[in-house]
């Protein structure tokens, strides 16, 4: 019962309030009352081409972040699941970025990507190449924030996969070895199927986390260049609400985002149920 109360107070009431707000035009800094505008915020959002550009960027960012951190996290977990010298130190090293604040990582990675004095331009300069302009080119800017986020999030997927690998059935492994099953085949036929629940769990949690990334984008690009080139839906919510003071419009974007995630999650759960 206490959990239900907490959920109602801190999750569902705000969610419903947010949906209610999305039907209003409300300047968040204004003392004037909000005015009811019906579906106007949704119509405005849907008819603005920039919204669809932001949706596309959100999809690219999320898909790359989810697959990138899961694939690399799994690869690292497989590597460090063996008895290697110094593996505990390396494990800690990989996990560390996950607990560092995104804002701090955003600042630090400017010294990696800055086309004027960053590490990448220095390395490329040594082989006679120019650095891409990560701050003014929309594609490179999106690559920059996505890569930074994947690096930060890697520790999470790595640790979860590592824990899952250590809980795998040893008898299946041994059977595969006795049968002299090739390594790749063993991975795809024996290891990966056993990791399916973990993969499913990670796909949902990483997806949710990726959709909420704000700090890295805010620090590194503030949603730009060219105004909105690295703006994702959650950044748009913030931008509209607290920068443009359009709380009602921001709430509409948040509601759209909620519905999109709800649909994705339901599909994922159905697929999982079917497989089970």
């Amino acid at each position: 019962m206490p959990n239900v109360v907490l959920l109602i107070v801190f999750t569902y009431r705000p969610l419903i309030d947010n949906i209610r707000l999305s039907f209003y035009n409300w300047n968040i800094s204004s003392t004037r009352p909000a005015t009811f505008v019906g579906l106007q915020n949704y119509i405005e959002w849907a008819s603005n081409p920039v919204s669809w550009q932001i949706v596309w960027q959100t999809i690219i960012f999320t898909v790359v972040a989810v697959f990138g951190s899961m694939v690399i996290g799994l690869a690292l977990a497989l590597l460090l699941d063996r008895k290697l010298k110094g593996r505990n130190f390396v494990r800690s090293l990989i996990f560390a970025p996950y607990v560092i604040s995104g804002a701090a990582i955003g600042v630090a990675f400017q010294f990696v990507f800055d086309p004027g004095y960053g590490l990448i331009q220095d390395l490329l300069g040594r082989v006679g190449m120019d650095s891409p302009d990560f701050y003014s080119s929309p594609g490179w800017a999106l690559f920059m924030v996505t890569a930074t986020y994947v690096w930060k999030n890697l520790g999470y997927t790595f640790v979860i996969y590592l824990a899952a690998l250590q809980g795998l059935r040893k008898d299946l492994d041994e059977a595969a070895e006795i049968d002299r099953t090739p390594r790749a085949r063993k991975f795809f036929r024996v290891t990966l199927p056993q990791l399916r629940p973990t993969t499913f769990f990670l796909s949902i949690t990483v997806l949710l986390n990726s959709l909420q990334v704000f700090d890295i984008i805010n620090v590194m690009t503030a949603g730009g260049p060219l105004g909105t080139s690295t703006t994702t839906l959650v950044f748009q919510v913030y931008q509209e609400t607290f920068v443009n003071s359009r709380a009602g419009y921001g709430a509409a974007v948040a509601t759209i985002m909620f519905l999109a995630v709800l649909v994705i999650t339901v599909v994922q759960v159905r697929m999982q149920d079917k497989e089970n």
Partner: protein, 431 residues
């Protein structure tokens, strides 16, 4: 690992609820409640011009002189925008501060929405003398006959030039280019040829390119707006936009995220930047430099920076203390200290009469440039940038697109439509 459907939905709900405006209480009416404070005045600042230590020093002095009404310095964000956003969040349901730094692009929205309080009555009730504020700077905060702020960290854009680079390019070392045409035809090419670097570096649209380059639009006969009448599709505004684009394409102007740093490490011969960066550049520049006016014809630039404002939603007692605190922070003695450490302009006209300040100006001609430019080469900013909510950022984004090579007419036309919609929706019905 077993995951139930319920837990998945809970996760989803938790995740997305945080993205919403869940914490925001009510819709409007926040200023009608008069918040009592904790007894300690809260001053929200973004420490303009890296002034954190200096602000703390001034606050310590206030606390020593006013032990019954102590003040506390609170980090309000990394820049003016972040501070404005934090204040917006506080207006929607949090604890309000007593004094905030309100920038050229945020003060009007707060005044217009009655989030900040007019100061005139408070001045009268608390015997505050405002006659020595620099009039043009104080009048920047006048809306419908009432003042909603006082000048604090006020600035103008300046041009900074490495003397050695100017000498190398056989250019004068006692002035900057007098027109943008002179820059394009003579200064830019000569500097680029002599040094192999861009002649001028300026910050991108996320970092106030819209402010730095605003005066250039005026020198071409264009503007962002004439009061509420947007001018982005005016042929002269378009011409100025094309000029900016060509300067970048020709490699004469470089547009980067952190222009002061780029200039500081010697990546360009010149810098278009706020006078508030003067203090930092004295430490970081690679060699001697001069500061000059922005190119004309006059007025070739504008003023900017920030003032101090008081939220409307705090109690009268808190307002009375806050207005005295603001007076203290900007008094003649403190504005001199602030000016000398940061490079911002003194906001009291009688500062110039203080021998210490007069001597400082004589010894630091680079600091004097901004003060002379204020009188000779500035005019107030266009409404489209400072009075339209999100206007500065939208113009900055559009200028970034122009710098990236997009069609100037198309970019400005879309910008005009966007800002016109904001004016029609948020401003005109409430004027």
């Amino acid at each position: 690992m077993i995951i139930s459907r319920r837990s998945v939905f809970t996760l989803a709900g938790l995740g997305i609820a945080t993205a919403g405006l869940s914490a925001c209480a009510g819709t409007g009416g926040s200023a009608s409640q008069q918040q009592e404070g904790s007894g300690t005045l809260q001053f929200w600042s973004n420490h303009p011009g890296s002034s954190r230590d200096l602000e703390q020093k001034l606050i310590d002095a206030w606390n020593e002189a006013n032990p019954d009404t102590p003040a506390e310095l609170i980090d309000g964000g990394a820049d003016y925008e972040e501070l404005g956003q934090k204040f917006n969040a506080a207006l929607a349901g949090g604890d309000l501060p007593d004094v905030i730094v309100a920038s050229d692009v945020t003060w009007f929205n707060f005044a217009f929405t009655e989030a900040t309080t007019p100061l005139d009555d408070l001045w009268a009730e608390n015997d505050i003398d405002t006659s020595t504020y620099v009039e043009t700077l104080l009048e920047d905060y006048n809306f419908e006959g009432k003042h909603y702020g006082v000048p604090y960290s006020r600035s103008t854009p300046l041009m900074y030039w490495y003397t050695a680079d100017l000498e190398k390019a056989c250019l004068p070392t006692d002035r900057g280019p007098q027109t943008w045409q002179e820059f394009a035809e003579e200064w830019g090419p000569k500097l680029k040829e002599a040094t192999g670097k861009p002649a001028l570096v300026v910050a991108d649209g996320s970092n106030y390119l819209d402010w730095y380059f605003q005066g250039a639009f005026w020198t071409f006969g264009g503007a962002y707006s004439d009061e509420w009448d947007l001018k982005f599709t005016d042929p002269k505004t378009v011409e100025a936009g094309k000029f900016l684009q060509k300067m970048v394409q020709d490699g004469l102007v470089s547009v980067v995220k952190d222009s002061a740093n780029d200039f500081g490490i010697g990546n360009a011969s010149g810098l278009l930047e706020s006078t508030g960066s003067l203090g930092g550049l004295k430490e970081s520049a690679q060699g001697d430099f001069i500061t000059t006016y922005l190119p004309g014809p006059k007025p070739g630039t504008t003023t900017g920076g920030a003032g101090l404002a008081i939220p409307a939603g705090i109690s009268d007692e808190r307002k009375a203390v806050a207005v005295k605190f603001i007076d203290f922070m900007t008094n003649t003695e403190n504005t001199i200290t602030f000016t000398q450490e940061t490079g911002y302009m003194p906001v009291r006209s009688d500062a110039a009469d203080v021998p210490e300040q007069a001597k400082y100006m004589e010894e630091n001609p680079n600091a004097e440039t901004a003060i002379r430019q204020l009188e000779e080469n500035t005019k107030p900013q266009d409404f489209a940038r400072v009075f339209v909510n999100g206007g500065g950022q939208a113009i900055g984004g559009a200028l970034d697109k122009i710098v990236a090579g997009q069609d100037v007419e198309e970019v400005f036309s879309a910008l005009q439509d966007e800002l016109q919609a904001t004016i029609d929706r948020d401003i005109k019905p409430n004027l």
